[in-house]
Amino acid sequence: MRQEVRIGGFGGQGVIMTGIVIGKAASLFDGKNAVQTQSYGPEARGGASKTEVVISDEPIDYPKVQAPDIFIAMSQTALMKYKDDLKEEGILIIDPDLVNEDDIADFVADKKIKLFRAPATRTATDVIGLRVVANIVMMGAIVKATGVVSVEAAKEAILDSVPKGTEDKNIQAFEAGYGLIE
């Protein structure tokens, strides 16, 4: 099965890294195939940041996301800019502290979107005490809400990606994120 994931936020949130970690988890540790891409160019400057991952059991031919099954929005700008082609009944995960839910009420209803809220930034700051791990917190939420990658693969991919010495904090963050979704 082919699954298309999109993550959007603003520069500095580690959005791209989340995409890479998901891709790595799927392709190196879950035995699937994955292609990760991201936005380049002026639009990627300062403001909005975006990454996309395609995951599949089969070899992946067309490598780009055409209409995501899953969209994670970590900022209001990203939410509004990138939401439109989310699939009917797709999954949308938002950081409720950074986006204005009112603006998407109709969208969610019309498209029968499965909406999840994961206050990743707040959790990172308050629970882990490290704002920069917000993306890993969100990773936990993504894994729980979507199951695109397994928990084990996710953890291995995180350990493979974060700086030495920060492993524990990151696993903690992942688990805190995992716990954010009921």
Partner: protein, 381 residues
């Protein structure tokens, strides 16, 4: 030990270069090729090699030719404007028969164009961009793994035929991450010094049968003179003699033309009974396969020819396919470039259809499928 990584296409290219024995990189940053230079700047010192960021692309091309003559395999990487600037020195590499590898991660063009978008619009430039008659070897990867593999292959071909080899990648392949499998050892072609019989006069450009003369390094004691001027077998300038020039330039071209069967590489899928063949190279291939499979499901006799080496163009294979096929479809991320070759080879016997697409977005499988269907339905008429 086989290693698996999840890396950017451009990083795979750098890893391939290192695996192939590249120990010198000179470059100048340009989107979307920059990550190749960046990765080489990290990797080379860890492998005994040198990375030099040059003042521009002209200098980069010059430096890798110089380095090649010093006895190390060398490479540069660039895009659009940068590759245009290298044209003069590419011609110098050709006439001096210097093994070098040049990576072009193609972007939207002409001019500064669309720096962060993809394209395949430098394919004809790869063949004709430098002044004068010459032939080119160019490879086009369609995946991260191929970017690694083809970079190694490029080094091997460069050494085998003593030519600059181009890897004509594109932004899609350069800028996506996929799993890369790095084998614990790769086949590489090592350089071989000339061997002289006793008392034999050394003629650095006296080519054997296959047109390729062995190549010493500077400092090996052969006292070779290397020049971009038309030169005789001793390597000495001889610029007013028609015969010297004809012999030299024809040999340079023949090295490639006469070894086409060894150089050309391609992959056929579903071609045995194909009446329609989709011919592609580089990233559009990714959409081709999906489209071909779907068309097959709908009963259309369509196959895929995926060309690894757009240059030299695999005439023979295409001609063979044209015996059965009535139609060829070629998706290109340009307004029609390699399709000229396809027309040249297959045009007499079959219909050739271009799906040219510019603007930076890859063909979707649907677009290709649609064309297959259109062609198939016209055939029924």
């Amino acid at each position: 030990m086989v290693e698996e990584r999840f890396v950017l296409g451009n990083e795979a290219c750098a890893l391939g270069a290192i695996a192939a024995g590249c120990r010198f990189f000179a470059g100048y940053p340009i989107t979307p090729s920059t990550e190749i230079a960046e990765n080489m700047s990290v990797l080379l010192p860890k492998n005994g090699g040198s990375f030099v960021q040059m003042e521009d692309e002209i200098a980069s091309a010059g430096a890798i030719i110089g380095a090649s003559w010093s006895g190390v395999k060398s490479m540069t990487a660039t895009s659009g404007p940068g590759i245009s600037l290298m044209q003069e020195n590419i011609g110098y590499g050709v006439i001096t028969e210097t093994p070098i590898v040049i990576i072009n991660v193609q972007r939207g063009s002409p001019s500064t164009g669309q720096p962060t978008m993809s394209s395949q619009s430098d394919m004809m430039q790869a063949r004709w961009g430098s002044h004068g008659d010459y032939e080119t070897i160019a490879l086009s990867p369609s995946s991260v793994q191929e970017f690694f593999d083809f970079t190694i292959k490029a080094f091997n071909l460069a050494e085998e035929y003593r030519v600059p080899v181009l890897v004509m990648s594109d932004e899609v392949v350069g800028h996506m991450r996929e799993k890369l499998i790095i084998p614990d050892s790769v086949d590489i072609v090592k350089r071989v010094r000339p061997e002289l019989e006793e008392g034999e006069q050394y003629l650095p450009y006296d080519a054997p049968e296959n047109g390729v003369t062995p190549m010493p390094a500077f400092g090996d004691g052969f006292n070779v003179h290397v020049t971009g001027l038309t030169h005789d077998k001793r390597g000495y300038p001889d610029t007013n003699d028609a015969e010297t020039h004809t012999d030299l330039v024809e040999r340079l071209c023949d090295k490639i033309l006469k070894n086409k069967d060894k150089i050309c590489s391609y992959k056929e899928e579903f071609c045995d009974d194909a009446e329609i063949v989709v011919v592609s190279y580089g990233s559009p291939y990714r959409s081709v396969l999906t489209a071909v499979k779907e068309a097959r499901e709908e009963g259309i006799k369509v196959g895929s020819l995926k060309i690894d080496t757009p240059w030299p163009f695999p005439d023979e294979e295409i001609s063979k396919l044209a015996e059965n096929a009535t139609d060829f479809i070629m998706p290109e991320m340009n307004l029609g470039q390699m399709v000229h070759e396809l027309e040249r080879v297959a045009g007499k016997d079959a219909n050739v259809h271009l799906i040219g697409k510019i603007g930076g977005v890859l063909h979707t499988p649907e677009e290709i499928l649609e064309k297959i269907k259109e062609v198939a339905s016209k055939k029924e008429d």
